[in-house]
Symmetry: C2
Subunit: 233 residues, 2 copies
Protein backbone atom coordinates (compact mmCIF):
# COMPACT_ATOMS: atom_id res chain seq x y z
CA UNK A 1 0.00 0.00 0.00
CA UNK A 2 1.48 3.31 -1.08
CA UNK A 3 0.67 6.28 1.13
CA UNK A 4 0.86 9.96 0.15
CA UNK A 5 1.38 12.84 2.53
CA UNK A 6 -0.11 16.30 2.49
CA UNK A 7 -1.19 19.01 4.91
CA UNK A 8 -3.63 20.28 2.27
CA UNK A 9 -6.74 18.53 3.54
CA UNK A 10 -10.11 20.24 3.44
CA UNK A 11 -12.39 18.37 5.81
CA UNK A 12 -15.37 20.66 5.04
CA UNK A 13 -15.30 19.71 1.38
CA UNK A 14 -13.90 16.23 2.02
CA UNK A 15 -11.01 16.75 -0.38
CA UNK A 16 -7.23 16.52 -0.35
CA UNK A 17 -4.77 18.12 -2.74
CA UNK A 18 -1.32 16.77 -3.58
CA UNK A 19 1.24 19.14 -5.08
CA UNK A 20 4.99 19.12 -5.82
CA UNK A 21 6.80 15.79 -5.43
CA UNK A 22 3.70 14.02 -4.09
CA UNK A 23 1.62 14.95 -7.17
CA UNK A 24 4.47 13.98 -9.49
CA UNK A 25 4.89 10.64 -7.77
CA UNK A 26 1.17 9.97 -8.08
CA UNK A 27 0.76 11.07 -11.70
CA UNK A 28 4.12 10.20 -13.27
CA UNK A 29 5.55 7.31 -11.26
CA UNK A 30 2.38 5.49 -10.23
CA UNK A 31 0.50 6.67 -13.38
CA UNK A 32 -2.71 7.17 -11.46
CA UNK A 33 -5.80 8.27 -13.38
CA UNK A 34 -9.15 9.94 -12.63
CA UNK A 35 -11.41 7.70 -10.55
CA UNK A 36 -8.58 5.59 -9.08
CA UNK A 37 -8.08 5.18 -5.33
CA UNK A 38 -5.16 6.60 -3.35
CA UNK A 39 -4.26 6.69 0.35
CA UNK A 40 -3.27 9.92 2.00
CA UNK A 41 -2.05 10.79 5.50
CA UNK A 42 -1.88 14.15 7.24
CA UNK A 43 1.10 13.11 9.39
CA UNK A 44 -1.15 13.27 12.46
CA UNK A 45 -2.39 9.71 12.36
CA UNK A 46 -5.23 10.02 9.83
CA UNK A 47 -5.28 7.68 6.84
CA UNK A 48 -7.72 8.90 4.21
CA UNK A 49 -8.91 6.62 1.42
CA UNK A 50 -9.59 8.89 -1.55
CA UNK A 51 -10.81 8.79 -5.14
CA UNK A 52 -8.99 11.00 -7.66
CA UNK A 53 -11.22 13.72 -9.15
CA UNK A 54 -8.58 15.86 -10.94
CA UNK A 55 -5.02 14.97 -11.87
CA UNK A 56 -2.12 16.62 -13.68
CA UNK A 57 1.66 16.44 -13.32
CA UNK A 58 1.62 19.26 -10.81
CA UNK A 59 -1.56 18.68 -8.84
CA UNK A 60 -3.78 15.85 -7.77
CA UNK A 61 -7.16 16.49 -6.15
CA UNK A 62 -9.09 13.64 -4.57
CA UNK A 63 -12.28 13.10 -2.62
CA UNK A 64 -12.14 11.38 0.76
CA UNK A 65 -14.52 8.44 1.11
CA UNK A 66 -13.14 6.84 4.26
CA UNK A 67 -10.85 7.83 7.14
CA UNK A 68 -9.07 5.69 9.71
CA UNK A 69 -7.31 7.22 12.68
CA UNK A 70 -4.15 5.47 13.87
CA UNK A 71 -3.83 5.54 17.64
CA UNK A 72 -0.85 7.38 19.07
CA UNK A 73 2.17 5.46 20.21
CA UNK A 74 2.11 4.71 23.95
CA UNK A 75 5.37 6.56 24.49
CA UNK A 76 6.77 9.86 23.40
CA UNK A 77 10.43 9.37 22.52
CA UNK A 78 12.75 12.27 21.83
CA UNK A 79 16.28 11.52 20.66
CA UNK A 80 18.91 14.23 20.91
CA UNK A 81 21.79 13.39 18.59
CA UNK A 82 24.79 15.26 17.22
CA UNK A 83 25.35 15.79 13.51
CA UNK A 84 28.07 13.47 12.22
CA UNK A 85 31.04 14.47 10.07
CA UNK A 86 29.54 12.59 7.14
CA UNK A 87 26.02 13.93 6.60
CA UNK A 88 24.97 10.56 5.13
CA UNK A 89 25.34 8.94 8.56
CA UNK A 90 22.92 11.29 10.28
CA UNK A 91 20.51 11.07 7.35
CA UNK A 92 20.62 7.33 7.64
CA UNK A 93 19.84 7.60 11.36
CA UNK A 94 16.84 9.81 10.63
CA UNK A 95 15.39 7.32 8.16
CA UNK A 96 15.83 4.35 10.48
CA UNK A 97 14.64 6.07 13.67
CA UNK A 98 11.44 7.18 11.93
CA UNK A 99 10.88 3.68 10.56
CA UNK A 100 11.32 2.04 13.96
CA UNK A 101 9.44 4.76 15.83
CA UNK A 102 10.36 8.12 17.32
CA UNK A 103 8.40 11.28 18.15
CA UNK A 104 11.05 13.93 17.90
CA UNK A 105 14.67 14.24 16.80
CA UNK A 106 16.79 17.08 18.09
CA UNK A 107 20.06 17.74 16.27
CA UNK A 108 22.28 19.13 18.98
CA UNK A 109 25.56 21.00 19.03
CA UNK A 110 27.96 19.96 21.78
CA UNK A 111 31.60 20.92 22.34
CA UNK A 112 32.93 18.11 20.17
CA UNK A 113 30.19 18.17 17.51
CA UNK A 114 31.43 18.64 13.97
CA UNK A 115 30.26 21.88 12.44
CA UNK A 116 27.80 20.95 9.73
CA UNK A 117 25.35 22.67 7.44
CA UNK A 118 22.33 20.40 7.64
CA UNK A 119 20.08 20.65 4.62
CA UNK A 120 16.73 20.97 6.37
CA UNK A 121 14.60 20.45 3.25
CA UNK A 122 16.45 17.22 2.59
CA UNK A 123 16.00 16.04 6.19
CA UNK A 124 12.26 16.76 5.97
CA UNK A 125 12.00 14.69 2.78
CA UNK A 126 13.77 11.76 4.43
CA UNK A 127 11.45 11.88 7.44
CA UNK A 128 8.32 12.05 5.27
CA UNK A 129 9.49 9.15 3.08
CA UNK A 130 10.32 7.00 6.11
CA UNK A 131 6.96 7.79 7.73
CA UNK A 132 5.08 6.71 4.60
CA UNK A 133 7.26 3.63 4.13
CA UNK A 134 6.81 2.42 7.71
CA UNK A 135 3.07 3.21 8.05
CA UNK A 136 3.80 5.15 11.25
CA UNK A 137 1.41 7.97 10.40
CA UNK A 138 2.60 10.58 12.89
CA UNK A 139 5.25 12.77 11.33
CA UNK A 140 8.14 13.13 13.78
CA UNK A 141 9.34 16.62 14.53
CA UNK A 142 12.92 17.52 13.63
CA UNK A 143 14.61 20.33 15.53
CA UNK A 144 17.98 21.54 14.24
CA UNK A 145 20.75 23.67 15.73
CA UNK A 146 19.86 22.98 19.34
CA UNK A 147 22.49 24.01 21.84
CA UNK A 148 23.44 21.36 24.40
CA UNK A 149 23.63 23.79 27.31
CA UNK A 150 20.07 24.95 26.65
CA UNK A 151 18.72 21.46 26.04
CA UNK A 152 19.90 20.03 29.36
CA UNK A 153 17.91 22.66 31.24
CA UNK A 154 14.69 21.74 29.47
CA UNK A 155 12.04 19.54 31.13
CA UNK A 156 9.57 19.27 28.22
CA UNK A 157 10.29 15.76 27.03
CA UNK A 158 9.82 13.48 30.05
CA UNK A 159 12.53 11.49 31.81
CA UNK A 160 16.04 12.50 30.78
CA UNK A 161 18.77 10.01 29.91
CA UNK A 162 22.28 10.63 28.71
CA UNK A 163 24.12 7.80 26.94
CA UNK A 164 27.88 8.06 26.96
CA UNK A 165 30.98 5.88 26.83
CA UNK A 166 32.48 6.61 30.26
CA UNK A 167 31.11 3.32 31.56
CA UNK A 168 27.70 4.13 33.12
CA UNK A 169 26.41 1.04 34.93
CA UNK A 170 22.72 0.99 33.95
CA UNK A 171 21.34 -0.09 30.57
CA UNK A 172 18.53 2.09 29.17
CA UNK A 173 16.16 -0.91 29.15
CA UNK A 174 16.66 -1.49 32.89
CA UNK A 175 15.75 2.05 33.92
CA UNK A 176 13.06 3.10 31.45
CA UNK A 177 9.62 1.51 31.76
CA UNK A 178 6.79 1.18 29.25
CA UNK A 179 4.47 4.08 28.38
CA UNK A 180 7.02 6.53 29.76
CA UNK A 181 7.86 9.72 27.87
CA UNK A 182 11.57 10.32 27.67
CA UNK A 183 14.46 12.02 25.96
CA UNK A 184 17.69 10.14 25.31
CA UNK A 185 20.78 12.16 24.45
CA UNK A 186 23.57 10.62 22.39
CA UNK A 187 26.99 12.17 22.18
CA UNK A 188 28.98 13.17 19.12
CA UNK A 189 31.82 11.24 17.51
CA UNK A 190 34.37 11.54 20.33
CA UNK A 191 31.59 11.54 22.96
CA UNK A 192 30.42 14.22 25.39
CA UNK A 193 33.11 15.92 27.46
CA UNK A 194 33.37 14.95 31.15
CA UNK A 195 32.21 18.46 31.97
CA UNK A 196 29.11 18.17 29.76
CA UNK A 197 28.16 14.88 31.41
CA UNK A 198 28.71 16.27 34.92
CA UNK A 199 26.49 19.29 34.27
CA UNK A 200 23.72 17.12 32.85
CA UNK A 201 23.79 14.85 35.90
CA UNK A 202 23.54 17.88 38.18
CA UNK A 203 20.43 18.90 36.26
CA UNK A 204 18.66 15.58 36.81
CA UNK A 205 19.71 13.62 33.73
CA UNK A 206 20.42 9.93 34.39
CA UNK A 207 23.40 8.28 32.77
CA UNK A 208 22.86 5.04 30.88
CA UNK A 209 24.68 2.63 28.58
CA UNK A 210 23.46 0.84 25.46
CA UNK A 211 25.37 -2.43 25.89
CA UNK A 212 29.02 -3.37 25.79
CA UNK A 213 29.73 -2.53 22.13
CA UNK A 214 31.37 0.78 21.25
CA UNK A 215 28.64 2.15 18.96
CA UNK A 216 28.94 4.89 16.40
CA UNK A 217 26.71 7.93 17.04
CA UNK A 218 24.12 6.99 14.44
CA UNK A 219 24.09 3.33 15.50
CA UNK A 220 23.49 4.35 19.11
CA UNK A 221 20.51 6.42 17.93
CA UNK A 222 18.96 3.49 16.12
CA UNK A 223 19.56 1.19 19.08
CA UNK A 224 17.73 3.68 21.33
CA UNK A 225 14.68 3.67 19.03
CA UNK A 226 14.79 -0.12 18.93
CA UNK A 227 15.14 -0.53 22.73
CA UNK A 228 12.19 1.78 23.37
CA UNK A 229 10.05 -0.04 20.80
CA UNK A 230 10.84 -3.30 22.57
CA UNK A 231 10.10 -1.91 26.06
CA UNK A 232 6.71 -0.71 24.78
CA UNK A 233 5.89 -3.84 22.82
CA UNK B 1 41.78 3.03 21.24
CA UNK B 2 42.54 2.03 17.66
CA UNK B 3 42.64 -1.70 17.00
CA UNK B 4 44.33 -3.42 14.07
CA UNK B 5 43.37 -6.78 12.65
CA UNK B 6 45.58 -9.52 11.27
CA UNK B 7 45.64 -13.29 11.01
CA UNK B 8 49.45 -13.13 10.78
CA UNK B 9 50.23 -13.81 14.42
CA UNK B 10 53.18 -15.95 15.41
CA UNK B 11 52.65 -17.03 19.01
CA UNK B 12 55.94 -18.98 19.10
CA UNK B 13 57.95 -15.85 18.37
CA UNK B 14 55.45 -13.53 20.07
CA UNK B 15 55.14 -11.34 16.98
CA UNK B 16 52.43 -10.01 14.70
CA UNK B 17 52.77 -8.67 11.17
CA UNK B 18 50.46 -6.13 9.55
CA UNK B 19 50.43 -5.88 5.77
CA UNK B 20 48.29 -4.16 3.09
CA UNK B 21 45.69 -1.65 4.31
CA UNK B 22 46.43 -2.35 7.97
CA UNK B 23 50.14 -1.55 7.57
CA UNK B 24 49.34 1.57 5.54
CA UNK B 25 46.88 2.75 8.15
CA UNK B 26 49.44 2.22 10.88
CA UNK B 27 52.41 3.83 9.08
CA UNK B 28 50.79 6.53 6.95
CA UNK B 29 47.58 7.56 8.70
CA UNK B 30 48.53 7.07 12.34
CA UNK B 31 52.24 7.81 11.62
CA UNK B 32 53.39 5.16 14.06
CA UNK B 33 57.12 4.74 14.61
CA UNK B 34 59.51 2.08 15.95
CA UNK B 35 59.00 1.45 19.66
CA UNK B 36 55.42 2.75 19.77
CA UNK B 37 52.52 0.65 21.08
CA UNK B 38 49.67 -0.72 18.94
CA UNK B 39 46.69 -2.99 19.65
CA UNK B 40 46.01 -5.96 17.43
CA UNK B 41 43.21 -8.52 17.32
CA UNK B 42 43.03 -11.88 15.56
CA UNK B 43 39.23 -11.68 15.11
CA UNK B 44 38.88 -14.57 17.55
CA UNK B 45 38.66 -12.56 20.73
CA UNK B 46 42.36 -11.93 21.44
CA UNK B 47 43.55 -8.38 21.97
CA UNK B 48 47.35 -8.18 21.78
CA UNK B 49 49.22 -5.15 23.07
CA UNK B 50 52.34 -4.86 20.91
CA UNK B 51 55.47 -2.76 20.48
CA UNK B 52 56.54 -1.95 16.92
CA UNK B 53 59.93 -3.45 16.00
CA UNK B 54 59.95 -2.84 12.22
CA UNK B 55 57.79 -0.49 10.18
CA UNK B 56 57.50 0.54 6.53
CA UNK B 57 54.58 1.62 4.34
CA UNK B 58 53.91 -1.97 3.38
CA UNK B 59 54.64 -3.93 6.52
CA UNK B 60 54.59 -3.46 10.25
CA UNK B 61 56.08 -6.03 12.59
CA UNK B 62 55.50 -5.83 16.32
CA UNK B 63 56.27 -7.79 19.44
CA UNK B 64 53.44 -8.89 21.71
CA UNK B 65 53.92 -7.91 25.37
CA UNK B 66 50.43 -8.55 26.68
CA UNK B 67 47.29 -10.43 25.57
CA UNK B 68 43.72 -10.19 26.79
CA UNK B 69 41.07 -12.67 25.69
CA UNK B 70 37.53 -11.30 25.26
CA UNK B 71 34.91 -13.81 26.39
CA UNK B 72 32.53 -15.05 23.73
CA UNK B 73 29.06 -13.60 23.47
CA UNK B 74 26.45 -15.63 25.38
CA UNK B 75 24.42 -16.19 22.24
CA UNK B 76 25.22 -17.21 18.73
CA UNK B 77 23.07 -15.13 16.38
CA UNK B 78 22.85 -15.85 12.67
CA UNK B 79 20.89 -13.45 10.49
CA UNK B 80 19.77 -14.57 7.06
CA UNK B 81 18.99 -11.54 4.92
CA UNK B 82 18.39 -10.91 1.23
CA UNK B 83 20.57 -8.57 -0.83
CA UNK B 84 18.74 -5.31 -1.48
CA UNK B 85 18.37 -3.57 -4.84
CA UNK B 86 20.71 -0.83 -3.68
CA UNK B 87 23.94 -2.46 -2.49
CA UNK B 88 24.54 0.44 -0.08
CA UNK B 89 21.54 -0.65 2.01
CA UNK B 90 22.89 -4.16 2.62
CA UNK B 91 26.38 -2.80 3.26
CA UNK B 92 24.89 -0.48 5.83
CA UNK B 93 23.14 -3.42 7.47
CA UNK B 94 26.41 -5.34 7.63
CA UNK B 95 28.21 -2.50 9.35
CA UNK B 96 25.47 -1.94 11.93
CA UNK B 97 24.80 -5.62 12.68
CA UNK B 98 28.50 -6.20 13.36
CA UNK B 99 28.65 -3.12 15.59
CA UNK B 100 25.63 -4.19 17.65
CA UNK B 101 26.60 -7.87 17.70
CA UNK B 102 26.06 -10.82 15.37
CA UNK B 103 27.93 -14.08 14.83
CA UNK B 104 27.10 -14.85 11.23
CA UNK B 105 25.37 -13.16 8.31
CA UNK B 106 23.98 -15.25 5.47
CA UNK B 107 23.09 -13.41 2.27
CA UNK B 108 20.25 -15.46 0.89
CA UNK B 109 18.54 -15.70 -2.48
CA UNK B 110 14.75 -16.10 -2.32
CA UNK B 111 12.17 -15.96 -5.11
CA UNK B 112 11.74 -12.21 -4.86
CA UNK B 113 15.38 -11.33 -4.09
CA UNK B 114 16.94 -8.86 -6.49
CA UNK B 115 19.79 -10.34 -8.48
CA UNK B 116 22.95 -8.68 -7.25
CA UNK B 117 26.68 -9.06 -7.65
CA UNK B 118 27.93 -8.67 -4.12
CA UNK B 119 31.51 -7.51 -3.92
CA UNK B 120 32.83 -9.96 -1.35
CA UNK B 121 36.14 -8.20 -0.75
CA UNK B 122 34.23 -4.99 -0.02
CA UNK B 123 31.86 -6.78 2.38
CA UNK B 124 34.84 -8.30 4.21
CA UNK B 125 36.42 -4.86 4.62
CA UNK B 126 33.17 -3.45 6.06
CA UNK B 127 32.90 -6.30 8.56
CA UNK B 128 36.52 -5.93 9.69
CA UNK B 129 36.17 -2.15 10.08
CA UNK B 130 32.96 -2.50 12.10
CA UNK B 131 34.51 -5.19 14.31
CA UNK B 132 37.47 -2.96 15.12
CA UNK B 133 35.28 0.10 15.63
CA UNK B 134 32.91 -1.66 18.03
CA UNK B 135 35.53 -3.59 20.03
CA UNK B 136 33.60 -6.82 19.43
CA UNK B 137 36.71 -8.86 18.75
CA UNK B 138 35.12 -11.91 17.14
CA UNK B 139 35.00 -11.46 13.37
CA UNK B 140 31.52 -12.46 12.17
CA UNK B 141 31.32 -14.92 9.32
CA UNK B 142 29.68 -13.76 6.08
CA UNK B 143 28.19 -16.39 3.76
CA UNK B 144 27.06 -15.22 0.32
CA UNK B 145 24.86 -16.77 -2.36
CA UNK B 146 22.94 -19.05 -0.02
CA UNK B 147 19.83 -20.59 -1.52
CA UNK B 148 16.68 -20.24 0.61
CA UNK B 149 15.43 -23.76 -0.11
CA UNK B 150 18.71 -25.23 1.15
CA UNK B 151 18.92 -22.92 4.16
CA UNK B 152 15.51 -23.82 5.57
CA UNK B 153 16.51 -27.50 5.76
CA UNK B 154 19.61 -26.70 7.80
CA UNK B 155 19.67 -27.19 11.59
CA UNK B 156 23.17 -25.86 12.29
CA UNK B 157 22.30 -22.47 13.79
CA UNK B 158 19.96 -23.13 16.73
CA UNK B 159 16.30 -22.14 16.93
CA UNK B 160 14.86 -21.00 13.62
CA UNK B 161 12.73 -17.89 13.24
CA UNK B 162 11.26 -16.37 10.12
CA UNK B 163 10.21 -12.70 10.22
CA UNK B 164 7.66 -11.71 7.60
CA UNK B 165 4.88 -9.17 7.05
CA UNK B 166 1.85 -11.49 6.83
CA UNK B 167 0.94 -10.60 10.40
CA UNK B 168 2.56 -13.27 12.61
CA UNK B 169 1.31 -12.85 16.17
CA UNK B 170 4.49 -13.34 18.21
CA UNK B 171 7.28 -10.78 18.63
CA UNK B 172 10.81 -12.18 18.46
CA UNK B 173 11.53 -10.93 22.01
CA UNK B 174 8.58 -12.92 23.42
CA UNK B 175 9.67 -16.26 21.99
CA UNK B 176 13.48 -16.14 22.13
CA UNK B 177 15.17 -16.38 25.53
CA UNK B 178 18.64 -15.36 26.67
CA UNK B 179 21.75 -17.45 25.90
CA UNK B 180 19.88 -19.20 23.12
CA UNK B 181 21.52 -19.77 19.73
CA UNK B 182 19.26 -18.87 16.85
CA UNK B 183 18.91 -17.94 13.23
CA UNK B 184 16.47 -15.21 12.19
CA UNK B 185 15.52 -14.99 8.51
CA UNK B 186 14.42 -11.70 7.02
CA UNK B 187 12.67 -11.51 3.70
CA UNK B 188 13.59 -9.47 0.64
CA UNK B 189 12.01 -6.19 -0.47
CA UNK B 190 8.52 -7.47 -1.30
CA UNK B 191 8.77 -10.15 1.44
CA UNK B 192 8.88 -13.94 1.28
CA UNK B 193 6.22 -15.61 -0.86
CA UNK B 194 3.37 -17.36 0.98
CA UNK B 195 4.76 -20.64 -0.36
CA UNK B 196 8.24 -19.94 1.04
CA UNK B 197 6.78 -19.17 4.47
CA UNK B 198 4.58 -22.29 4.43
CA UNK B 199 7.51 -24.54 3.57
CA UNK B 200 9.68 -23.04 6.33
CA UNK B 201 6.93 -23.54 8.92
CA UNK B 202 6.60 -27.18 7.87
CA UNK B 203 10.33 -27.55 8.48
CA UNK B 204 10.13 -26.26 12.05
CA UNK B 205 10.77 -22.54 11.59
CA UNK B 206 8.67 -20.32 13.86
CA UNK B 207 7.10 -17.18 12.45
CA UNK B 208 7.66 -13.91 14.29
CA UNK B 209 7.11 -10.18 13.91
CA UNK B 210 9.38 -7.28 14.79
CA UNK B 211 6.74 -4.78 15.91
CA UNK B 212 3.95 -2.92 14.16
CA UNK B 213 6.09 -0.79 11.82
CA UNK B 214 6.58 -1.86 8.23
CA UNK B 215 10.38 -2.12 8.22
CA UNK B 216 12.71 -2.13 5.25
CA UNK B 217 14.82 -5.28 4.86
CA UNK B 218 17.99 -3.73 6.24
CA UNK B 219 16.16 -2.01 9.11
CA UNK B 220 14.58 -5.33 10.11
CA UNK B 221 18.07 -6.85 10.20
CA UNK B 222 19.38 -4.17 12.53
CA UNK B 223 16.33 -4.44 14.77
CA UNK B 224 16.94 -8.21 15.08
CA UNK B 225 20.54 -7.63 16.21
CA UNK B 226 19.32 -5.00 18.67
CA UNK B 227 16.50 -7.16 20.09
CA UNK B 228 18.88 -10.09 20.65
CA UNK B 229 21.44 -7.81 22.34
CA UNK B 230 18.70 -6.59 24.68
CA UNK B 231 17.41 -10.11 25.46
CA UNK B 232 20.97 -11.12 26.39
CA UNK B 233 21.81 -7.97 28.32
Amino acid sequence: MIIHYTKDINLNHNTITLTGDEAQHCAKVLRKRMGEDIYVTDGEGALHSCKIIEISKTECKAEIFNTLQQSKRLYDLTISICPTKKQSRIEWFLEKAVEIGVSRIILTQTQRTEKSRLKEVRLHKIVVAAMKQSKNLYLPQVITNQNWNDLIQCNDYGDKYIAHCEDPKTHLAKICGPAQDCIVAIGPEGDFTTQEIKLALELGWKEINLGSSRLRTETAGVVVASVLAQINM
